[in-house]
Symmetry: C2
Amino acid sequence: MGITAARGMFLKDGKPYFLISGEIHYFRLDPRLWEKHLRLLRDSGANTVSTYIPWDWHEPEPGVLDVNGASHPGRNLILYIELCKKVGLDLIVKPGPYILAEYELHGLPAWLLERCSPGARAIDQHGNVISPDLMCYMSEEYLTYSFLWYDHIMPVIASHQKSAGGPIAMMQVCNEVGVFQWLSGQLDYNPAVVHLYREFLRERYSAIDAANRMYGTAYRTFDEVDPPKGVIGTRDQYRAYVDFHLFYRHYFALYLDTLARKIRSFGIDVLLTHNIPGWIFGNAAELPMLISTYEEVLRTRSDIVFGLDHIPEFVSYRNAHSDLACNKILAAMQPHGPVWAAEFQAGTREHFVKNDPADMETFYFASLAHGLRGFNYYMFSQGINPSGKGYYGKTFYHQTPVNAGGSVSRLYPVTRNVAAFIKREGEELLRSETRARVVVGLYTPYFHTELTTSQMLKEKRLYIEKIGLSLDPRFVREELFFNGLLRGLQTLNIGYNIRDLETCAEEELLRYRQLWVVTTEFMDAKTQALLASYVAKGGHLVITPAIPVMDNYLHPCTVLTDAFGVRAGKASGPPKVTALGIEEVFCQLSEKQVYASSGGEVVAITRAGEPCGLGIRVGAGRVTALGFAFGYTTDEHLLLIEKILSLDRIRRDAHVSDPDIQVVTRYGTKYTYMFLLNYHNRRKSCTIGGRRHTLSPLSYAIVKKARKG
Amino acid sequence: MGITAARGMFLKDGKPYFLISGEIHYFRLDPRLWEKHLRLLRDSGANTVSTYIPWDWHEPEPGVLDVNGASHPGRNLILYIELCKKVGLDLIVKPGPYILAEYELHGLPAWLLERCSPGARAIDQHGNVISPDLMCYMSEEYLTYSFLWYDHIMPVIASHQKSAGGPIAMMQVCNEVGVFQWLSGQLDYNPAVVHLYREFLRERYSAIDAANRMYGTAYRTFDEVDPPKGVIGTRDQYRAYVDFHLFYRHYFALYLDTLARKIRSFGIDVLLTHNIPGWIFGNAAELPMLISTYEEVLRTRSDIVFGLDHIPEFVSYRNAHSDLACNKILAAMQPHGPVWAAEFQAGTREHFVKNDPADMETFYFASLAHGLRGFNYYMFSQGINPSGKGYYGKTFYHQTPVNAGGSVSRLYPVTRNVAAFIKREGEELLRSETRARVVVGLYTPYFHTELTTSQMLKEKRLYIEKIGLSLDPRFVREELFFNGLLRGLQTLNIGYNIRDLETCAEEELLRYRQLWVVTTEFMDAKTQALLASYVAKGGHLVITPAIPVMDNYLHPCTVLTDAFGVRAGKASGPPKVTALGIEEVFCQLSEKQVYASSGGEVVAITRAGEPCGLGIRVGAGRVTALGFAFGYTTDEHLLLIEKILSLDRIRRDAHVSDPDIQVVTRYGTKYTYMFLLNYHNRRKSCTIGGRRHTLSPLSYAIVKKARKG
């Protein structure tokens, strides 16, 4: 049966299974050392090995395939697969077409680029080829060539998959689809894409008049519709981008679906996977945007399990909230598949990263605390690039557990410690769960901005003031939601869960004492209605920095304010409010939402005395609306979060004498695991439940206890 | 006599003097605790205390001045000054007009903002007020009010300055002038500024026809000239920005000069100072741009000593090159004044900064190694803001050596250690120098981009491809120069000096074995001639990533290529070259400069075999021209730098068995001080000269030895 996924876990032969994998690139190693590397990986306690299969490497000339080393011993993929089986490791294969992996041309053969016409390439908004190696995913030419590659490689994979007695247990479909689009800030204006966009709109609007009304245009047919370009000057232009972002998600879903269906046509039955990048400068605030770009495929193709590329670069209290938040967000969007790290930092590509073994061990155990159910060390083994194949030069990765020559580094024993812990605790650990009394609502439309405003965008296209908005969705989701609320909760040792407001059931939300939603001025009517109903049925909604008063197309939509009997206006002034009795709370924006309401209690006021926070009882529940922007930049912000939580007696998960220590408790069926995490570069001593713990700088401890009664 | 500055040092009563200061804001402390805070500072070993004097605080209503506490005991500045004297500390005062300091409205009184007309405010390119609290520095209205404030406060200061028997030994003129312009990416289009700009051009061009030829315009008089606005589309538009950047520097010089002359008119004779900010996200790559904005005043007003705001946020091998590089750059531009830290991180304003005492001690001692000749702990004492006066809320700074209540933290003993070392070593340390065999040329026009392309610029105005350039000056100076070459040299333990190519003497350069210049495609004829002459006279010039072929206005200017007998062209292709025998050196840009030359040796080739590196003997010297972009992003880059240095037998300053340890040797008259710096979060052992040293994570050691012979 091999590996499957269900109930948020990997299963092997139907039983819960922790995937412990390491990335080893056979094409970057001396074939005489392949077995040595694989044995070192297995001996570290891993059960799986992962590798790309570079198209370029195995098809050096068009139609000349080499998977058995006829032209070069390093091309003997068959031997490598057999060695995996011999050594006793499952194998994850990643045959592209794109592999990236700092391989020249991202793994595409140079001859392919020469053969392909401009029509096979991604095109920018001015009609120019974006980059010779950036193909149009859905162009017939690119797909035809890719399928020729698949025709060659997939039978090899099929004949070595688990069901055929081989070691291959999973396959990744392409690699980080969308990463170039994200980095270049443009989707693709290739006519093949524009055609699909028009089809998408036809499906969505049926009649061209409906689309015209939305965009303020005068198209006669959908075939005339042009995708949006350039900087947004009007709300009509903004509306076109709203749909273009939805199409972007549809387009990636189409591409992955096309590849996956082709893969399945070869009788390949293994679990498929795909990986999502997005840590930048040691912070993952933009990663959830990249998760959101897969939302259509996440909702439609359950046989593709998405994994995260967890490359924090450095381990610190500064980014300690990042992996936890991303794991929770992926879990919300992929409720059945396990949260796993398709690339789990081990070693580094870059010089500005030092991968101290003790730091990494802390990160690895924190990941277990944070609910990771599998990972793939990236890289387990260093590589030396074949001549001319390395993007950054000869040496691929540094400070890996095993170097290219097959000697182990100080990181190797760390991988043993991690695997030993996982094996020892087994299913008990895998089935363990954290507890949360607070749920945070995820609203992915706030993440639909990769083409208009994102960290990596060179030419920003959305200036909110031009279209009369006050809240930039990027600012809201990065600074108020991710680095604000989610970092604040983590700092406070308050366990939380995340739910996707567009897909989760109302009952799910009602299981928690509080629901926090960090908003912009817009939210679709259905989601507004969900929140209103949640409150009516007894929930406590904390909503900030604004109660939305528009839908996602910026048309008036006051489901929430109507339900709460509130009128909302805007006020500007000094960026300070008094809220829940805390004076001079700093606001990250000077504009605030102020309220007029017949009932309810004013819980926050501006310096001018205007009410900018309300506590209102509605139906069986209540709303705390805070119309000002606060992330986590001052002490008072933390205090404010804590005060609001205490309204429902939500307290820190553990009483720790040193609040700098992070505590995560996982509840198994028989045992609890309390993870103590010291993300600080300082020795820490603390008392928890009467017992004293001392933690070295950047270290962890685990307290395992039998559960009572 | 008090404090003066000469020969790169502070002098007190004419003798070399290390300024050890701490910032204490009396207006944020209970007056009953003032003396306690001052005594704690003095007892830590400091000789000086520094404070802002907020205009708003002392002139709560127009014309109602309080400096003796009549309206509020916290306003008793006279008492505070007297206490400084009583306790035995010199005093640095910073009376604004602007103080920033997270004080509401940056220290300006609210009534001033109400009284001032739009004509007193900075204006953006669309004619709008940029922000109500951003005044036009040279508007008559703002200056008139500021001088009224000076009329009140300067006599108080004059009567308490050293020459009058008081403790005041230095004064800062305004605060971080230009920081708002940098953050907002706009100078000021106020008519008063435009008028000065026109005067500046009249001075520069004399005849309007000359200006018209430069800009491709048809103005009839200078009074018609408009300052450049918006995105650069043509080289003509670019040329206008070149002059606008020069004017920007002239404008700041005018403003500081105007304030300084006014200050002197009160008989104030103390040394003046000004502070320069610019660390962002733990890196100071943009700080030198801010130093460059003061270049005119640096060249014209020797009685203002500039200090750096050294706020690294965290201490790490990742930013270890930053403070050293900035110190060297400031020293190059301020050869007579001492390099000092006007704000020397102690405690933190932000939550995302933890100020571990051991880390900070390492940073402080590294600063001594890196040539700092004075500093002001910012903040020495925490403060609690008077109601409504704090920008971020009530509490001002965390983790300071002394908290607002007067208790000391674990950082306090660190400040004692630092002062004790400085006192013990005295003049010997102050007069000590590092040695360097390599000099790096600083060319500040590459930093004249704060209005066109900078990290903080929201609307970037320079897209180099639009005007046919290949090398973005911001990229060159940040990634190739600062984070590339200067980081590489520091990592290699190669001592270097920096010289300002526009002001230094040729003989200065000829003292070194190599001169490295990191270039763009442009450089003025005079500087090109300097470099050519330097080579002719026997210097070894290493020039990369291009030999300039244009002047700063992008007119052809081939002084260098002519002198070297080289023709330079452009080539694109894979970002890899073979250079000095190193294969597959990664290039950070795919475009390269390729050479045709009758003589010389090809030292680098592109993958297509084109020569992109030349070694040429010219006159008594030589040139190594490397026409490709390399910073420090791969191992090979470091190797390449080392190989080039070894051409002139320039070796690492010390043989350390662990290359991760930074070594800086300072040579005094009788002793040498070898500073060993461990910037890594790992215990390190190493052998130097046969002796074994063990360094804890993030720590330092100092080996003092008597000099031989």
